[in-house]
C-alpha cells in the first residue's frame, strides 16, 4: 500500500491521549455499542465451538475424517444419499459429497483451523510489526531508513501472490497450519502495523512528557519502555483487532486455492473449492462453510470497529460535526470536575478552554 494511504489508515487509529483510559473505561465504551456487543457474543460462541470441537462431535458420534461410502450415491457422481444432502439424526448437517464425511464435524473442526491460524498469524504480525516499528521510530537515521525500506517492500507485496509462491517452495512435511499462519503473518499485516507503530512512536517521542522523563535522568531505554510503550498499546490493539478478520479471509482464500491447509484437515475455504458443483444436490455443502466464514469475518470486523471506537473516542465523535464551541462543550462534559474546579479557582484554563485559544 502506498505511503499516503497508510497514513490515512493509521490516522483513524492514532490515540488521542486517552486520559488514563484504563481497562474499565474501555469496557464501558465497548459496552455502549450494541452491535459490538452482539459481535463479541458471536465471536465468543465461535471460540467455544472451536475449543469444544471434539466434545461436540463426540456428542454427535462422528468425526471429521471417516469416509462413509454407504451414504453417497456413486452412480450419480457421489451425491449424498437421502434428502437435504443426507441430513439425519446421525449426521446433523448431512455429509460431504463424494466422500460421505460428516459435515457438522468438518464444520466445527474447520472453525479450529480458521480461528487458530488467524490468531497465531495476528500474534506474529503484531510482535514483528511492533518491534520493527519501535526500532525504526527510535533508531538513528540509518536504522530508520533501512527498516522503513524493508517495511515498504513488504507493504507493497500482494499477499496472495507471495503466499502462493512461498507455499510452493516449502517442503511438504512442515506442519501445514503453522506454515499457513507463518506465511500469512510474514507477507501481510506486520508491515502496515510497523508503519503505524513507527508513526506513533515518532509522535510520542516528541511529546514533552518524554523529554521530561529524559530530563529526570532516566536512560533512553527506560524512557522508551515506561513512557512510550504504554502509549502504543491502544493503537496496536486496535490494529490487531482489525487484522484478525483479514487473516481469517486470507487463510480461507489460500485453502480455497488449494495451497493452504491440506486435506484431510478440514477448512472452510477448502470446502468451498468444489462447492459450486454440488450446490443443487447438497446446497448446505456450499451454504454452511460460506455462511460460517461470513458470520465469523463479519462479527470480527464489527468487533474490531467497536474496539477502535472504544479505544479512540475521537473516531466515534467524528460523526458529530460542529463548531469549536460545541467541541468545547463536549470536552467540558467529559471533564466536568476539572471544569468546575477550574472555575472556582478564577477561570483557570480547563481542558475545554483549549478550544478558545489553542
Amino acid at each position: 500500500m502506498s505511503e499516503a494511504l497508510v497514513t490515512v489508515e493509521a490516522a483513524g487509529t492514532e490515540s488521542s491521549v486517552p486520559a488514563a483510559s484504563g481497562a474499565r473505561q474501555f469496557w464501558r465504551r465497548l459496552r455502549a455499542q450494541r452491535a459490538a456487543l452482539v459481535a463479541a457474543a458471536v465471536v465468543a460462541l465461535l471460540v467455544l465451538i472451536a475449543l469444544g470441537a471434539p466434545l461436540l462431535t463426540a456428542l454427535e458420534g462422528q468425526d471429521p475424517t471417516t469416509y462413509h461410502p454407504s451414504l453417497i450415491d456413486s452412480a450419480r457422481g457421489g451425491v449424498p444419499v437421502g434428502s437435504l444432502g443426507g441430513m439425519s439424526a446421525d449426521h446433523w448437517l448431512g455429509v460431504e459429497p463424494q466422500t460421505g464425511r460428516d459435515l457438522f464435524a468438518r464444520l466445527v473442526y474447520g472453525a479450529r483451523v480458521s480461528l487458530g491460524v488467524a490468531l497465531a498469524a495476528t500474534v506474529a504480525q503484531v510482535i514483528l510489526g511492533t518491534v520493527m516499528g519501535v526500532a525504526a521510530g527510535l533508531g538513528n537515521r540509518w536504522v530508520d531508513l533501512v527498516l522503513s525500506r524493508i517495511t515498504d517492500i513488504f507493504v507493497a507485496m500482494p499477499l496472495m501472490i507471495m503466499a502462493l509462491a512461498l507455499l510452493a517452495v516449502v517442503p511438504g512435511d512442515f506442519p501445514r497450519p503453522v506454515l499457513v499462519a507463518l506465511v500469512i503473518a510474514l507477507v501481510s499485516g506486520w508491515s502496515t502495523t510497523a508503519k503505524m507503530v513507527r508513526a506513533q512512536t515518532l509522535t510520542l517521542k516528541n511529546l514533552d512528557y518524554v523529554a521530561a522523563s529524559r530530563l529526570s535522568g532516566w536512560s533512553t531505554w527506560r524512557t522508551a519502555v515506561r513512557e512510550l510503550l504504554p502509549g502504543l498499546a491502544a493503537p496496536v490493539i486496535t490494529y490487531a483487532a482489525l487484522l484478525v478478520p483479514t487473516n481469517i479471509s486470507a487463510e480461507a482464500a489460500l485453502s480455497f486455492l488449494g495451497v493452504g491447509v491440506k486435506p484431510p484437515t478440514p477448512s472452510w475455504g477448502q470446502m468451498l473449492t468444489s462447492a459450486d458443483v454440488w450446490y443443487q444436490a447438497a446446497p448446505q455443502y456450499l451454504l454452511l462453510p460460506a455462511g460460517a466464514l461470513f458470520v465469523t469475518v463479519f462479527a470480527l470486523t464489527v468487533l474490531g470497529d467497536g474496539v477502535r471506537v472504544a479505544l479512540d473516542p475521537r473516531a466515534a465523535s467524528r460523526l458529530r460535526v460542529g463548531t469549536g464551541s460545541k467541541r468545547e462543550a463536549r470536552a467540558e462534559q467529559a471533564a466536568p470536575q476539572a471544569g468546575t474546579r477550574a472555575r472556582r479557582q478564577g477561570g483557570a484554563k480547563t481542558e475545554a478552554g483549549k478550544e478558545d485559544r489553542a
Binding site: 514533552d208 512528557y209 522523563s213 530530563l215 462543550a329 478564577g346 484554563k349 485559544r357
Partner: protein, 530 residues
C-alpha cells in the same frame, strides 16, 4: 433599529450552560468587544449570531436579531441569506479556516456567488478587488495561490477579504489575531480599523486579550461563566472598572511598561551558552534555527528570551537543558562543559496537556527525578512528593490523581513540582504561561518568582509575549531569525531599545489605554505614508 439585538440569550450543551441569559445590542456601525477568559462563552455567543448552533444539538433560547433577521425563527434559507451577506465572520486560525485545495480567489468567489447572482468571471473579479482592498500585493496573481502559499498575516487578510466580499453590515471577528505574531497582529488590527472607518460596518470582536479590545472597539462587554460582568465604553471600563472581576482581570494583565521590582543581581554565572548554533536538516537543505547565540544565566536572576515565531527561542531552550546537542558552539554549567541532560538544569514546558504522561498519576511523574537518581525508599519519595505538591500550591492528597483531573494552570504547577524534584539550580521555562488565561498566568508567574527568591534559582523565561517577559526578567535577549539582536538589562532593552527591530516589536504591543492605542496607530501609519 440596532444592528444586533440579543435578548436573554442562553445556550446549553447538554448539562452545560455556556451562555446564561445574556443581553446586549450593537448599533449600526458601532464596535463592541466581548472579552473573557476561556469557558466564558464568548465564542458561543458569536456563533449564535449566525445561527451556527442550529442542528448541533445545542439548546438555544432567547432572541437574537441580526440586521433585521430573527435568527431563532429564520428558516434555513433565510439564515443562509444572513450568513456572509449581512453578517460575516472572521475566524481565529486563518490556515485551517480556508480550504487547502482551492485557490484563495476561488474560495472568495464561491462565497460571493452564494449571495450575488453574478457570473463566475464577475465573482472572480470581485475576489481580486477585495483582496486588493485588504492590502494583498499583486492581488490578481496572488488570488490564484492556495492558502499554504500565504503567510499567516496574509491568510488572515484573505479571510477578511472574504468577509468583505458581500459588503456585510456586521463583521464578527472571533479571536482574529490570537494565532499571529505581535507585529502582524498590529497590522491586522490596523486593517480592521481602516476598513471599519471606510465601510461603516459594525464590528463584534471576540477576544481574550484586553489589549486587543482596547485597540479596536468603542464598547466592551466583559463576560464570565456565560454572563455579562461589566459593560461600557472601553475607556471607562479599562480605566475605572466597577466590578471586582474586571479589576482582577486587569490587574493580571502584564504591562509592557511596568518596571520590575527586581531581585538583587549576582555575578555568579551558572549557565552559559557560547556561540551555539543548531541546524536542522542536512546538506543544502540545512537551516540554522539558532545561529551563533551567546547568553549567560546568573544565579538567582531571570533571563528573558523573547521573539516571534520561528526566531529559534525554543531550540535555544532545548539546547540549554541538553535535549538538543548544538551543531557548533559550547555550553557551560558552573564553568564546566555541559553536554547531555543534567539534573541541575530542568525545564518547564509550554503545553500543560502533553507535558504530563496521561497514563501515570501526577505523584509518579513528580517522583521520576527522585527515582532516577536512585532513591528507593517509598516512604521518603511519597513524603517528598507531598512536600513538593504543597510547595507549588496543590493539595498533597492529590498525589494519586491523573493529569486529566487537573486544570491547565494546575498541570503547569505539577510540571514545576517535577522540575523542582531534581533540586535544580536552573529552570528553563519554555512559554510556561502562553497556554493559560491571564489570571492563571499571573498566578503561575508569581509562583515562579517566589520559588526563585526562596531557592536562589536561575530562570530562563522563554516567551513571545513581551509584557510577560518584562514582568519576570532581569536580563532580556531579543531573538530574531536564530540570532540575538539585542541583549541587556530588561529596563534598558524595554525603555531605550537600541535596535529598530526591538522598537518595532514594542510599538506593536497593544496598549491598554484606547487613547494611547490611537496615538500609536497614527504613529504606525506615518512611516507607511512617508
Amino acid at each position: 433599529m440596532s444592528l444586533v439585538e440579543v435578548t436573554d440569550l442562553s445556550v446549553e450543551f447538554g448539562p452545560l450552560r455556556a451562555v446564561d441569559s445574556l443581553s446586549f445590542s450593537l448599533a449600526k456601525g458601532a464596535a463592541l468587544a466581548l472579552v473573557g477568559e476561556s469557558g466564558s462563552g464568548k465564542s458561543t455567543v458569536a456563533g449564535a449570531l449566525l445561527g451556527l448552533h442550529r442542528g448541533t444539538g445545542a439548546r438555544v433560547t432567547g432572541a437574537v436579531r441580526v440586521a433585521g433577521t430573527d435568527v431563532q425563527a429564520a428558516s434555513d434559507e433565510e439564515l443562509r441569506r444572513l450568513r456572509g451577506a449581512k453578517a460575516a465572520m472572521v475566524f481565529q486560525d486563518p490556515l485551517s479556516s480556508l480550504d487547502p485545495y482551492y485557490a484563495i480567489g476561488d474560495q472568495i468567489a464561491e462565497v460571493y456567488r452564494v449571495h450575488a447572482r453574478v457570473s463566475r468571471r464577475h465573482a472572480r473579479a470581485r475576489a481580486v478587488e477585495v483582496l486588493d482592498r485588504v492590502g494583498i500585493p499583486d492581488a490578481q496573481r496572488r488570488s490564484r495561490s492556495r492558502p499554504h502559499e500565504f503567510s499567516g498575516g496574509m491568510r488572515q487578510r484573505a479571510l477578511i477579504a472574504m468577509a468583505l466580499a458581500c459588503e456585510p453590515d456586521l463583521l464578527i471577528a472571533d479571536e482574529p489575531t490570537t494565532a499571529l505574531d505581535v507585529t502582524v497582529q498590529a497590522q491586522i488590527l490596523d486593517l480592521l480599523h481602516t476598513l471599519r472607518a471606510e465601510t461603516g460596518m459594525g464590528l463584534l470582536l471576540v477576544t481574550h486579550d484586553v489589549g486587543v479590545a482596547a485597540e479596536s472597539v468603542d464598547d466592551i462587554l466583559v463576560m464570565r461563566h456565560g454572563g455579562a460582568v461589566e459593560r461600557g465604553p472601553v475607556g471607562t471600563v479599562l480605566a475605572a472598572p466597577a466590578e471586582a472581576y474586571t479589576r482582577e482581570l486587569l490587574d493580571a494583565v502584564p504591562r509592557v511598561d511596568a518596571r520590575r521590582t527586581g531581585s538583587p543581581a549576582t555575578d555568579e554565572v551558572v549557565l552559559e551558552a557560547m556561540g551555539v548554533r543548531r541546524e536542522f536538516g542536512r546538506g543544502k537543505g540545512a537551516v540554522a534555527a539558532v545561529d551563533d547565540v551567546s547568553v549567560t544565566v546568573r544565579r538567582g536572576e531571570t533571563l528573558g528570551v523573547v521573539g516571534e515565531s520561528g526566531s529559534g527561542k525554543t531550540t535555544l531552550g532545548r539546547m540549554l537543558v541538553g535535549l538538543l546537542e548544538p551543531t557548533a558552539g559550547a555550553l557551560r554549567y558552573e564553568g564546566r562543559p555541559h553536554t547531555g541532560v543534567n539534573p541541575a538544569v530542568q525545564m518547564v514546558f509550554q503545553d500543560p496537556v502533553s507535558s504530563l504522561n496521561p497514563r501515570r498519576s501526577v505523584g509518579e511523574s513528580i517522583a521520576d527525578p527522585l527515582r532516577a537518581c536512585g532513591e528507593r525508599d517509598e516512604e521518603r519519595i511519597r513524603g517528598r512528593v507531598r512536600e513538593l505538591l504543597e510547595r507549588v500550591g496543590l493539595e498533597p492528597a492529590h498525589h494519586d490523581r491523573y493529569p486529566h483531573e487537573f486544570s491547565g494552570g494546575q498541570r503547569q504547577r505539577i510540571g514545576i513540582a517535577r522540575a523542582l524534584a531534581a533540586e535544580p539550580r536552573v529552570i528553563v521555562c519554555d512559554e510556561p504561561v502562553s497556554a493559560l488565561d491571564v489570571t492563571t498566568q499571573a498566578q503561575v508567574v508569581a509562583l515562579l518568582g517566589e520559588l526563585q527568591r526562596e531557592l536562589g534559582l536561575a530562570l530562563v523565561f522563554i516567551a513571545h509575549d513581551l509584557a510577560v517577559v518584562r514582568q519576570v526578567s532581569d536580563h532580556v535577549a531579543v531573538m530574531r531569525r536564530g540570532r540575538v539582536v539585542e541583549c541587556g538589562p530588561a529596563d534598558e532593552v524595554y525603555d531605550s531599545p537600541r535596535e529598530s527591530y526591538t522598537r518595532r516589536l514594542l510599538a506593536a504591543v497593544p496598549a491598554l489605554d484606547p487613547e494611547l492605542a490611537a496615538q500609536r496607530r497614527a504613529a504606525r501609519r506615518e512611516p507607511a505614508v512617508a
